[in-house]
């Protein structure tokens, strides 16, 4: 090895550096996202309107991480940028704006009493949002880095197409697929309801009805032995409730969301006008869901003729409030379904059920 090869400098000028980076032999602060770690494992991803959740295998366990699928632009200033950088808030600069995205968005929205913007609406890429794809890619990047090995399997959730939204769904799926391919993955799309069945109905041989109530929509799938027989979606979800309650109470939807997620109990009598309105619109959502479920099963021409009643499992952030399951059961009992239902239960972890199911699909495809 020559001295030049070894990188020995003999009086040559080098770039001037003034910033001190003293290295003290102590361990750095824990980095935030465990899931930044690129693994050689398949990845399951729930690309939801409200949240993006990733699941990876870590040893014998499943590791999950989530990001809020939202952003808020603020005017650019050097001071603001410094503050964001110092507080490790995810942002990027676009022209004269700083786009803050991910989980920190909600804090800023509450701070400024402004509404967050979403790159997705009704379960699909938001066609009305100019920054939809750049923001979504940035958010995905925080959870799913570049694949370490080319062709790693990544299963991502897609909703069932709502009526008249088939073309939009094709665009949504193809766009995400292309993005993940560019990161080196072999992307596989999985229906959201089926993912819930994969994660929650293993004991039933993946037979039953999986429901995912998310921010933009509710997705339902009926599967027999892991094969989906019927699936549909309704474009009512958490965002619908927030907007509807906001419109009748005069409050910001972001604020309504906070109230909703702050221990709302649907099994108890409402305490104030917000809870009263929330209850009304939850009932409306559930009613729409059960009605559509009855209608879809009745109209399905090829349903499995099983001699066993089917279990129903509910998941998603919108299904988290206490009393949701009971409200759903009540609505279900008032209608007669063409299939017998053995029971309704909430997913073991409603927020991660879809991502965990997607991971099972990814491992299956591995």
């Amino acid at each position: 090895m020559t001295i030049a090869e070894a990188g020995i400098q003999g009086g040559r000028a080098m770039d001037e550096r003034k910033d001190h980076l003293w290295k003290v032999a102590q361990e750095a602060e824990e980095r935030i996202e465990d899931l930044m770690k690129a693994g050689s494992n398949p990845v399951g991803l729930d690309v939801g309107t409200s949240k993006v959740v990733a699941a990876k295998r870590k040893g014998k366990e499943i590791d999950t991480g989530a990001q809020l699928n939202a952003f808020i632009p603020v005017p650019y200033s050097r001071f603001t940028e410094t503050i964001l950088g110092q507080n490790e808030i995810s942002y990027y600069r676009e022209g004269d704006e700083l786009i803050i995205y991910g989980t920190a968005t909600e804090k800023f929205a509450n701070m400024f009493n402004a509404n967050v913007r979403r790159p997705m609406a009704d379960g699909l890429i938001n066609p009305k949002e100019r920054s939809a794809m750049p923001v979504l890619e940035a958010i995905l990047q925080t959870l799913v880095p570049k694949a370490r090995a080319q062709g790693e399997v990544l299963a991502f959730s897609v909703p069932a197409a709502g009526e008249g939204h088939e073309a939009q769904l094709t665009y949504h799926e193809a766009t995400l697929r292309r993005h993940f391919e560019s990161l080196g993955y072999r992307p596989v799309a999985i229906n959201e309801g089926l993912a819930v069945i994969f994660s929650e109905l293993e004991d039933n041989n993946f037979t039953g009805i999986g429901i995912s109530c998310g921010g933009g929509m509710c997705n339902v799938t009926l599967a027999y032995l892991s094969i989906p027989s019927m699936m549909f979606s309704i474009t009512k979800g958490g965002d619908f409730i927030d907007a509807a309650v906001a419109s009748v109470t005069g409050e910001q939807p972001t604020r309504v969301k906070v109230i909703k997620e702050d221990g709302l109990d649907l099994s108890k009598a409402p305490k104030d006008k917000y809870e009263k309105a929330l209850r009304i619109y939850y009932e409306d959502l559930i009613e729409s869901l059960v009605q559509k479920l009855q209608q879809s099963i009745s109209q399905a021409d090829k349903l499995p003729r099983s001699d066993r009643p089917l279990p129903i499992v509910i998941s998603g952030g919108t299904a988290k409030p206490r009393g949701f399951k009971e409200m759903f059961e009540k609505a279900l009992s008032s209608r007669s379904l063409p299939v017998e239902v053995s029971g309704v239960r909430t997913a073991s972890d409603p927020l991660t059920a879809t991502a965990r199911g997607a991971l099972i699909a990814a491992l299956y495809e591995k």
Binding site: I3, A6, G7, I8, Q9, G10, G11, R12, A13, M14, R17, H20, L21, W22, K23, V24, A25, E27, E30, R31, D34, M36, K37, A38, S40, R57, K58, G59, K60, I62, P145, K146, R148, V158, A161, E166, V188, A189, I190, N191, L194, F198, S199, N205, F206, Y224, L225, S226, I227, S229, M230, M231, K302, L303, L359, I360, A361, L363, Y364, K366
Partner: protein, 508 residues
Amino acid sequence: MRAETKRTERRGPVRRRPIPTLSEPEEFLHALESVGRGVRDPVAKLRFIRTSLSRYQALDRAVRAVPSAPLRRLLYRWLSLEGLHHLLDDTSSLGASPLRVNFATRVSLVLGRAAVVGLGLILGVSAGVAAYRYMRPPAAALLAAPRRVAATPPVLAPVVDPVSSIVEPTSAASLTSAGVTHAAIWLVEKGPQWELYSNGLRIDTGLTVKGTPRAFRVFDGEGTLDPRVYSAPVGLLFHTSESDVWPLEAAYNENLRGTSQGLLRYVQKNRLYHYVIDRFGRVFRVVAEESKANHAGNSVWANAGRVYLSLNHAFLGVSFETRWEGGKALPITQAQLAAGRNLSDYLRHRYQIAPEMCVTHGLTSVNPKKHLIGHHMDWARGFPFALFGLPDQYQRPAPSVALFGFDYDDDFLKVLDQPWPGVKAAEAELAREAARSRRDVEDVRYERQTAYDRWTLKQQSPDDTDKTSAPAATGAGSGAADQPGGGRSPEPAAGRAAASTSRPEGLQ
């Protein structure tokens, strides 16, 4: 049952295969469900169900020809059980148990297979006897005795010990062949603030401070912690100072000097390194050699069947005044190279440090919480080992990966683009181990990472030891080992007298 919608077929997550419809007999599906309940892992179960459904159509035609319903049900069940065989070997699963099929189902599978084998034997023997009676071949004398088969000893795959596989001899001969000069290195002259050695090394001792006395313990490759506490350094760890780097030109003389002074004060205050080599090649002993320096943090290295965790005590820290930037260290100066080589020769000579124990911080640093390598990256690439007469440590299987299954993340790749060859080599060892034990690589990693956690718990931090308890051997002539590996490190004959006068207190 045949009920997939058009949309599902277009977009579903899994391979589309024909599925049975309800117009067909349900016996198979009942059997499938029954067997499926015995599979505990979700991925394995999904694979079993999907595979069985795809096989169903081909087999069903034959089974349906069986007129007896009970026999048909038995056949369906047996076929379903046979669909499990791949799950017994497959490893891409989730769940806590390595057994993805429950005991009852395994028993059913074994019994089913035994029944088939038994039936086959009965039929075979019957057919054979019938044929024999029919043909009655004449007895041949040669057939009276069984044919001998030459006894060939089975060929066993060599067992690779991840520790010993990275071991190389550490004899004096290897030290010489690795580039250490044959001439002894001795203290030529000593002033109040400097020392001059026979190889041209001049050490500035004006800033030297003492710290916590060196005391460390060592694991063997099996995770047994040697109860002895050692006091002599066993390795060298090369660092970059991560300080300002000014152009090496006369115009920047003040900046160059000022930065070096600032660096030395900082290193002294925090007791970071034993030695600092500034841009002009001046060597400063900042932390006394018998003390530990806070230079290595969480780190892993192994050699000669011994494993060292957290190298602050066991290794001497030598820092070059430069910085790590853009995935490599900025070039050191020729003066730094010459001084660094003389210093490492002196230290290796004095403490009989094996060349395999001279390594860079970036190659040893780990994040124990996340089990990631490359927590610090200094000299993770580009240290001129060859010019120091040292083996290329970048090629050696990384002990943190081979022994403890450490991984790397996207941040690591952002800096280095790809890991050094030793990481790849260690990962290949993990993959071979996984293949040997028929497990997923991730399972092997997880097992070894867990072992690391156990080892670190087991390791009593020397910092926490009762300061009144003396290390196993610190005094001269104690006869005990002061370096792991058995014998007391021999002082080079020619240098013994000279070195004994220059040796800092408490050493040998």
